[in-house]
């Protein structure tokens, strides 16, 4: 591909808005070029980018990604460097000096120790540090795996265990703690080990699928065609089949490796990244990236293939004459460095697990980001977009905001009730799951998103109590949670094994209680759990405040539609056993009353769709000003809520003073002033009643006879009676 074409393409990406891509890299990159560098190495255990020179190792910390991060350097002895990794406690640097020698360099003491293997029979393929309980250093050789323990104090290396396998090449990610050893003629037989803190798990040997191109020519699987990825805490292996142009997907279980279908590939060179549990398949030749959400059952891409975008690249420097950029200005300077920076999918790009791109030729490191805005804008299938957004953890707040916007938009646009109902289902299911796993409240506390009403609006106790009853609709809750900490792992395992009834899957279900065998492999990834603190889940109260009430203000007319939406929302919430708050019911009453649908309002109250509360009762009283039966519902609700004082007052307001008196006597309501009763009786213009009320208070209320009320109304009563006497 010539550079002109590529640069023009890059400029398209630059000039366009976010809608032209769903994935972007953010300018500026981390500059990792260093004079005298002998290459760049990525230490994924420590998230360090390492650049050894002749006598030192320069390192940049890449997590959290910070373009201006200070480099640090450690001096080491001179010599060739084939590979380098820091120990997990960052004290020792292991350097592969040759195919037979590993040097351990103690940073503090500055001394070193060399470990050699038999040069005639085996060759070192690579090594990595591990936090496994059994060993801390693993050496991968052509003859197999050596699990070693290196003690920096005594400078002593000890062989713990050795696994004999013929190895052609291997791949390892620290994220999954999984090492895959390729063997065989075609390098398609794999042996896997997971070196987790729980111990070493040996995976069953398995073969990858390889399509034959022509007779007798057997393709050989290369290391760069196999990727281990971790999404939603599950471990997958992706294998590029260059002949069939497919990306085969396998999922790892403790006792099985299960094919999960294939994804199409549109480029001879394919690489993968994982950003926020979304699988990104880079079609390098086609210069596009396709997104897949492996959580969903379907293997359909999240969105259409679109190029990777370089975002925030300083356009000024590109077009200005001072810039070395030659775009359109007729500058005849040699190809500048900046030109290279803008070229997407250059030859020098190396993809680091999970979401880094290293431009080795120009020494730049990019981090890949998802553009949630454009992803959510690109699909009209709102429920599935919401589902996608709800699963995002990295930019949870952003996803949450987008979800709220989407919800508001579909209501404002008067989408079909069914669509909105599905969307509500998605949001409520997600919220309920977040509550169950406790992520929601963690998120609240961590982010202080809604700290002002946490204690009033979100009382987790009733909700969790209801969850623990374990209803049938609650989803998969049977899996042993101590083994699989991630909620996604649980639900997906069940749902998957329900759909594809393979034997292995079933066994993984059956053995959930007894223990170690056939449980899906999970990555015991601390870093991921940290990022899970926040969640995009939206509480009913937030939905009310940011969607329903604001929509109500914006929408003029058609309260019936909004009522329909609220009913659907209640249905979703009830299914998930999520409690509602009175403000929502108050809004419902207002809407129904505004639409003049008092009959339905009555039905809603009587069937307890609108749950009784003081706020609701008062709204009924308010809305019932023009409609006495509705007002009665409000008064009745006050009585049922045992709000004696309010009930008596409302009765008095409506002129039912005798009933109010009877009730006040029965329930010993002494907080209502006698004058209110007397006034009501006086207004009714019935002297007998006024007399009885007066008598009532004289008899039952100590000291009433001495009050001004007694005197006043006694006088009024005399005046009322006098004309009768006179006549």
């Amino acid at each position: 591909m010539n550079s002109e074409a590529s640069s023009s393409q890059a400029s398209i990406g630059l000039s366009g808005s976010g809608a032209l891509s769903h994935v972007y890299i953010q300018y500026p990159p981390l500059k990792c070029s260093f004079p005298g560098s002998k290459g760049l190495f990525y230490d994924d255990g420590n998230k360090l980018l390492l650049s050894p020179t002749s006598d030192q190792v320069i390192s940049w910390k890449v997590a959290p990604f910070e373009p201006n991060v200070e480099r640090t350097s450690d001096s080491v002895s001179e010599g060739p460097v084939l590979s380098v990794r820091y120990s997990l406690d960052n004290k020792i640097i292991a350097i592969q000096r040759s195919s037979h020698e590993i040097q351990f360099w103690n940073k503090e003491k500055g001394n070193s120790y060399s470990h050699r293997c038999k040069p005639e029979s085996e060759k070192i393929l690579g090594f990595f540090w591990t936090d496994s309980s059994a060993c801390n250093f693993v050496l991968v050789k052509t003859s197999g795996l050596d699990m070693l323990t290196y003690d920096s104090e005594s400078q002593n290396i000890q062989l713990i265990e050795s696994k004999r396998v013929n190895v052609n090449w291997y791949i390892y990610t620290h994220e999954s703690r999984l090492v895959l050893l390729a063997s065989g003629m075609q390098c398609k037989s794999f042996t896997g080990f997971q070196l987790s803190s729980a111990g070493i798990i040996r995976l069953p040997k398995f073969e990858m699928l390889m399509a034959k191109s022509v007779a007798n020519s057997k393709p050989i699987l290369a290391a760069q065609d196999v990727h281990i990825i971790t999404v939603y805490g599950r471990i997958y292996c992706l294998q590029v089949d260059r002949v069939a142009m497919l990306l085969h997907c396998y999922r790892f279980y403790r006792d099985a490796v299960v094919p999960q279908g294939s994804l199409p590939v549109y480029s001879s060179k394919v690489s993968v990244s994982v950003v926020d549990n979304v699988l990104l398949v880079h079609q390098v030749d086609a210069k596009v990236v396709i997104l897949y959400d492996l959580f969903a059952e379907s293997r359909a891409p999240v969105s259409a293939p679109l190029p990777l975008l370089l975002r925030d690249y300083p356009r000024a420097s590109m077009s200005s004459t001072s810039s070395p950029c030659s775009k359109g200005d007729g500058h005849s300077e040699p190809k500048p460095v900046d030109e290279d920076e803008t070229t997407i999918y250059r030859g020098g790009w190396t993809f680091f697990n999970p979401d880094l791109i290293c431009d080795t030729s120009s020494g730049l490191l990019w981090k890949i980001h998802l553009d949630l805005d454009s992803i959510s804008a690109s699909s009209s299938d709102v429920p599935s977009v919401l589902e996608f957004l709800q699963r995002r953890k990295l930019e949870a707040n952003k996803a949450k905001q987008l979800c709220l916007d989407l919800a508001r938009t579909i209501i404002l646009e008067h989408r079909a009730v069914g669509i909105v109902a599905q969307s509500m289902d998605v949001l409520m299911t997600s919220y309920s799951r977040a509550i169950k796993t406790g992520n929601y409240f963690k998120g609240i506390i961590a982010d202080k998103i809604l700290s002002f009403d946490v204690q009033t609006a979100h009382n987790p106790r009733p909700a969790t109590d209801e969850f623990s009853r374990g209803d049938s609709s609650g989803g998969p809750i049977k899996m042993d949670s101590s083994v699989i900490p991630d909620e996604y792992t649980r639900s997906s395992t069940i749902s998957h094994s329900e759909s594809s009834g393979t034997k292995i899957q079933q066994s993984s279900l059956e053995s959930e209680v007894p223990g170690p065998s056939s449980v899906p492999l999970d990555a015991n990834n601390l870093e991921q759990q940290e990022s899970q603190i926040t969640t995009a889940a939206i509480s009913p109260d937030e939905l009310y405040r940011f969607v329903f009430s604001s929509v109500d203000e914006e929408m003029t007319g058609d309260p019936a539609y909004l009522v329909a939406i609220l009913v659907e929302f209640l249905r979703s919430a009830t299914l998930e056993r999520i409690r509602e708050y009175p403000s929502l019911y108050v809004l419902m009453i207002q809407l129904l009353a505004r639409g003049g649908r008092f009959g339905e309002l009555g039905l809603f109250v009587i069937d307890k769709i609108i749950e009784p509360s003081k706020e609701v009762a008062y709204q009924l009283l308010e809305s019932g000003r023009q409609h006495p039966p509705t007002r009665k519902l409000g008064i009745d609700m006050l009585r049922q809520l045992l709000l004696h004082h309010d009930y008596v007052l409302s009765l008095l307001q409506d002129g039912y003073y005798l009933e109010a008196l009877r009730y006040a006597r029965k329930y010993k309501v002494v907080t209502v002033q006698p004058s209110l009763f007397l006034e009501a009786a006086y207004v009714s213009n019935d002297s007998q009643h006024l007399a009885s009320v007066l008598r009532f208070f004289s008899d039952f209320m100590p000291g009433f006879k001495n009050t001004s009320d007694h005197a006043t109304y006694g006088e009024i009563l005399r005046q009322m009676n006098s004309p009768c006497v006179g006549a």
Partner: protein, 509 residues
Amino acid sequence: MGLYSTATISADAVKLCVFDLRRGQREGEEVEKILYFYPSELPLTDQLSVIGLSEGLITFTRIFSPDAACEVIEAERHSHVFYEAEPDVWMVMVVEKNKELEGIWRIEALRGMLKEVHSLFVMFNGSIRAMLDKESTGALIRSHLFSFITDYLFDFLAGKKLQLPSFHDSLQERGTVQMLTVGREAAIEIQSLVRVLESCAGSAGCHSLVLFHDLLVSTSVCPDDTVNLYTYAVLRMTPRALSASGSSWSYIRKGNTAAHLTTGSILPTSSTSTERVQGSRDTSPSGENRYLIARPLQQGKWSKGKDGFLVTNQWGSDMNASFPTVWLQQTKERMYLCAHQHKNVTIILLIPVTSINNAEREIPVLKQQLLENASLKILKVEEKLAKGWGGENAYHVSGYRYLLVDGDRCVSRASPAAKAATLAKESLVAMCKLREEVDMEKSRTKDDDVNHDKDLEVCIRAKNNSWIVARILRGKELYVVLEKANETLLYASDAIEKFSNRYCNGTFS
């Protein structure tokens, strides 16, 4: 009900007429006043004498009470029940008092019948006055009233006699709706279905009713319209009604002649008197007149189609041919009546006539849409309701025989008829009399103060030592019969309080 042959009044003992005071003002044209008379074979002179007497009484009582004239006349041998259905259009029912037959009834219950048949008539045909204005000869209204009221009375026919509401029905309230009590979850599910139904039709003015068995589950029209539609549905559309008419299906399907033969027993259509009353009628033996008349109350009018929608044979109103329409009082709008049934769930959907241009084409499309969008929800609702369904005696409370009426919402709930029937006759008669008293008290306060309901509590010890209790509180009424109860009043009032707390949300305590 055949058990209570005592309550049956011989056909001759009941007269029912509809007349218009604005017509036939000149001497010799009195017959013009008569819009409907039952029994129609009664000689015209007798008919005129009944109407003349009624008119005289109305005119006389109007002197004292111009707004609300005569309600009832108790003569030595007859009771005359008056109902001014529309201004100057009166319905009068004359019932013969028969000591032997213990003709004990409640006037309000009889008036309830008049009200019911009139409001049903208006629902389907619009007001009598409007029809009179449309065709001043009266032939149109006469033929409509004739078939409508005849079909209505057909339901009261036991053998050859009319069986009117009597004291046995004192724990029932005509003109109210019986509702199914549902749990919150089911209620939300139902409302969700209702929204889908109403959104299906696309226009905002749609309404719906949902019934389960003979009980109302949901409605979106005002109480009066709900009562009418509910009454009609229970009479002709619910699964029970359909199966009842299904037994006589084959012979009704033979055609209108057959149907007329059955009604002929109370009303021979070819009799000369009717011909005279109805003015210009052809004398075809089938009795069909020249107007194409929809007979919504005809037995076996509805049947269930394969797609679950209820279909009706030849509605034949003069408006849009084959799709039944009804008038809503609330919105003063004519609506297409569309009914769907799944097992015991009956859904009535009302679509404004104005929103549909071509009914023949659009309504089937609409039905199809409904099935596509709502059938899953209907299944779900049916399942939920069937699971929670307590059977016929779900609302029986042991030890109590009760009637609970919510006047605001026109809703009532009562002990199951079979349970109420176990009461001693004395108790029922006493309750009937008590209710008569309460009715009078209520109508008195209605005149006094429109805004305020009268609160009332009455406890009676009947001859057979049962307690008969009526309690009226802010528009809600509770009638209870306690048999085999303790003899103290305290006991009775405690029992009522207990009942109120348990089953009425404490309304009466």
